[in-house]
Symmetry: D3
Subunit: 287 residues, 6 copies
């Protein structure tokens, strides 16, 4: 670099290092604790898959004789990994909290991680119904194995169901990062707060969006580009966005929604309704 | 972990290791043979790209003087890589087959891999027409090189054409995994069973879906969010999904379909038709 | 490989090494210079993020005491990385240029890289408005930190704003590769040539497309599946595609466009307009 | 590369590709089977360490509650890894064997691997005596943990004892590669064929050599640079080196040999003898 | 695995998981804290090199204009890395200590790391004299740069001097692991407890050993295979090895010791003495 | 870090960034050019091995049918890799040279690399004699393949012969780094300047040193710990070390030197002499 370069670049460095410049965008996190790690959370989700679907995921080859060794080791690894990420999430959620106590936070994190582990058996049960539903939904599927191993719709549902359990435990940030991992991979964006019944199927799925306060019944099937969107609420008296109010659709059992249709607002779709594609639906639909 | 933790976690491990719990979701694969590997198949697709488009892909710098050395080495590597993955796919397709013979399967796998290799020269020819079409379709493209190097539409078409050749050879699973790799990267979901003519162009492409029994002519151009979808068939007498029936659209030559339009069912779109965006089309269109 | 294999494979190698076969698809690039590297450009974008949002990205933990050390080192690394990639882009843009001089190209590349670095402080300012806007737009967001750290819409806007500065400097290829990185990760496809005002928000975003000559005002908010598309222009007298003409929409300030709507052609959307979802809009909209 | 370069380089390539040039140095190995892999064998040795010394090696943190899960998984991994390497060793040992049967070789390899696994419990017992002896030998050692974790002498003994068990099972090549791994790391070269009693200690160890037919008693301690060397035997009648004859020293119990001393030939060192450093010893020593 | 295999292997697993079998070799370390990591310590030593010898080591290219940025970042990284490893060392040193307090240990670790950092400037000064001495010692050296960049003797001295400062601070284990890293790479084994003056040179060095209580003056030069060994002390009344007593040689200033010579016991070598190679020296040498 | 820490650490940073502190140890290398890379040179040596010994090294499986493709690609890769490293070595050798011209240096580097490539066929011929000799020397060797694949003595000779060709071409630094790679791995330290005849064998080898001006005949065999050392020369009139004078032994044909013997100074060892181990030899030996 000749001198002229240095001048311009050094000016840029000085401006970028000026506190006034970065104060709105600086994350002053708790000393010694990093941010949650998307890489580590991807590892954690992969461990969940290896535990839930023995033989499909994970590096090891399991047989019925050795499955208990593998499950034991993987659950222990998952516990360690998830505890750290939940801890990072708790610190991130409240970086400046003055009276906050590190070992109290760490205890909270390990307890939350442990509570999540206890939901794995029931997660496996409900995901078995989703595998069934996705297989039935797609005439191009050869067998259930193919659905479990490589269907993006099923993949996104797995991440959502893991994230939803963590969301129910009030773990901050981590559930959202887990559903965003699936969003990036599959184009399917399910908010971890949504409530979704069993036998849920998503076909193709790119562009599918299911918002935070959506409620979906059992045996529902949706296609690519379908949105369950929230209506825009007016700001509060101070002009701030109001958060957390129910604003997404409620979808009954045995409903099918074809591609690129948007359902918007707290509308109700009755059991058994089939909605054509490319619609803008902002009113409830009776049977 | 204190004792209370251990109790709850050990219960979870015990439940997860219980055969009744995992039997619906367990993949009892052939001893010593793993599942097909998405990483290895990504490597195989990258090798195809390096062979088909010398100078654009691959780590080595090729010149006309040395291109034959590189092609020789890469074809040999591709043969080894693909044989293993096809073998894994054959095992995955029929994990319990009792009379199945390992070396017969391996011979079948290497023969299929070899047959695929012989299609590479014609794959290059048809992909040259696709590169041309995508360049013509996008006024923002500077030259053909940019299309080959970084256009997601072209990228997805390459994966589809590779997968389609493997599909025609009746290789199980592998074609689908290859198109899913492109789906994840580009948001474009083309089933390997679809039949697509030359000079095919996809612009932007996120959310585009082309179903298993679609037939597409030459010089067709489609945009993001376009679906060639299958109509839902009634189940058979036993209530099972009927598989393999022609149920997706047939699109003629020189057709253009604008963004977010869905074509559904075994309808026919005549040569030269231009379809506006955001439509739900469930009837044939004459010129 | 038995002999029969070798024969068929060697024929394929011979055909693939035949100059007639590859000449349309061969990239005869400048000796000693490789193509731009998507991996390196991803690294460069990550360095930009680490510089712009101290504490959110990058491996190092920064404190106010040490931020200037980190900024200094990261800007220097970014300069080195970007200079090489811009150089590769310049070579790729004109591979055969006979009178081209390597050290002149290298000087041009380092000067362009340096000019980009000087825009980083103002990039940080405008991105602070985008973070604000995305937070306000989503009632599900807990705080600004979550938006900066894991919202795909914001992520895509960061890549776009970096790419747009490089586009304004007439750097070839590199801007497009940077926006394609975000496209692949988020499904949001913003052409680096588009002009976009401050406080820009994208919600969910999968399938969103903003074309090359689009102009977007301040405080605009768009949803998933929205396209700002170009109308198809007739070819020139020689039958070639005309390139570079303004053909995408102009969107005013404070406009909201709901999911899956397509705006096509050089239409004007007036300030403050709200457009419902799933529309095909090919005419200007007055307030 | 300009043309002149190409000429000289192409000549080199042609000469190097000429069969006459490489025939003495070409390894025509069995199709589809690679050579044994030093990386994989290093992994196998590390797995042995993790199994034998729980808590010292391996990535996982073991507790008494979970040790059986880890042991189960690690033994299974070791079995898979070692079977493949032993198979590669068997193929390497007899690459041209015409009547050789692949699945017979593979069965032999897995049986040998399994037989090795059954020796792990007794390997742990004898290595416990070696850890004890190395701790007693070095006044600078703080505790046994330090010896197990980071003493090069103990490290080399572990590799030797693993290799010796494989040598006793007549596994070709693999034992030697395992002791060479330790040789490279520690400078201690123990031939896997040597017979060494319990409570064996090596201090510092760089340059220590223990030849193929050496026999060493219990409670022996040796230092850096000590060689137990073979005397040179006259060639056989055809002028060829005679292989496999006992030609290295026999060392009794409770012997100490100081640094840089060479013992050469089939000499006997009586129980309890202490040998000064820097000696050339080619005659037996009585007590 | 057929059944017979499983039986034998399962027996081995059961025996290896039996507490009686592993109790002598089990490291019951503090929950949540792993062992010191040789990989991380190698990273820490490399960071020291990058700080001490700007321009020779480390990935970044430093110039005088930017050296302070790099030094700032690297010292901060080293502090973080070293604090963790020292902490792991403290935990390893006393794994069962019941009254031990985690945050007290952590505070101790960060203070020790910080104290080490303050010695870096004087470490640089004395290493400059060693570089000078090694250059003068070897007529084959072209310049000082070559010595700093690739001489194994100098490399081992750097590790020793870093380790010695940590040893003086009473950091457990870590100093020994750092000198063992150099031992493995160079074959030179210097105990971190040895005291060595300035202008110290080691030529070639493989097999060189310098024991724990050795004292070496200034301007000393030694060759490969030279040992400064401890005499064997009689055990204490209980038959245990006595630890920590001065038992290695004291070497004066300006001494040269040629290859493969062993000095043993608390002998004194006077200033200026030159000792021939291949000697066994167990008595003091006057000038 | 609390404030007290920061003070002490910031002082250390300030002292370390002070030019007076680092000026003796700073490498002010040519802008844009890094130092030679040991990793890249290890890769280059591995490529040489893969070219010279087809089937033993390298990732690809070669057959006689495809060996020419592999050789072509590998020679091209080696040329690119080595040219860059030689260039870095030339820059390192003369970092301040003001009139130095970058493209002249680059041309020199590629020409040197090319000249080295032309020596590969004869390197293969002489290494075939070394493989033969090492096999004959060791009664424990099963066949030549084992020698080529895993004998450290042969490994060090390969590195030496590669380095010696580069030394003869006057390439600076690179030859020394290549022999140091073998030194670190095997404990065998052969200076690239030594001249060594054909059929050269080293057994075990740890601690073996062969100095810069040594001359060794054909059919020579040496053991571990053997040094061919230089006598110490008096400094020149200004007190500086005299460099480059012949000062190491000359060893005739068919000589054997047993372990730990040192030969020192420009002495002559006649043809056919056998030297016992643990000797200090500073006078010539007649037959």
């Amino acid at each position: 670099m000749d001198k002229k370069d240095n001048t311009r670049i050094n000016e840029a460095i000085a401006r970028l290092s000026d506190e006034a410049s970065y104060q709105k965008l600086f994350h002053a996190y708790r000393d010694e604790e990093g941010l949650p790690s998307t890489e580590k959370l991807e590892e954690a989700v992969n461990l969940c898959r290896a535990i839930l679907f023995p033989g499909y995921y994970g590096k090891a080859k399991v047989s019925k004789a050795t499955i208990r060794f593998h499950t034991g080791v993987q659950v222990e690894q998952l516990h360690a990994l998830l505890s750290k990420e939940i801890y990072a999430g708790l610190c991130f959620a409240d970086p400046d909290c003055p009276q906050c106590n590190e070992s109290a936070l760490w205890n909270k994190a390990t307890t939350l991680s442990e509570s999540f582990l206890t939901t794995l058996p029931s997660l496996r049960d409900i995901l078995a119904t989703d595998a069934e539903a996705n297989y039935d939904a797609d005439p191009a599927a050869r067998n259930r194995s193919e659905v479990i191993f490589c269907y993006p719709g099923f993949r996104a549902i797995v991440n959502y169901r893991i994230a939803h359990e963590l969301y129910r435990l009030d773990v901050p940030y981590i559930p959202r990062i887990i559903t965003e991992l699936a969003h990036s991979e599959t184009g399917i964006d399910i908010h971890p707060g949504a409530k979704i019944g069993h036998h849920f199927a998503i076909d193709h799925g790119t562009g599918t969006v299911i918002g935070e306060t959506s409620i979906i019944g059992d045996y529902v099937r949706i296609f690519q580009g379908v949105s369950l969107a929230g209506e825009k609420l007016p700001p509060d008296e101070c002009g701030n966005t109001i958060r957390g109010i129910a604003r997404h659709p409620i979808v009954g059992n045995h409903v099918t929604i074809y591609s690129n249709t948007t359902l918007i607002g707290r509308i109700h779709i009755a059991d058994g309704v089939v909605i054509q594609g490319n619609q803008w639906v902002n009113q409830s639909i009776e049977k």
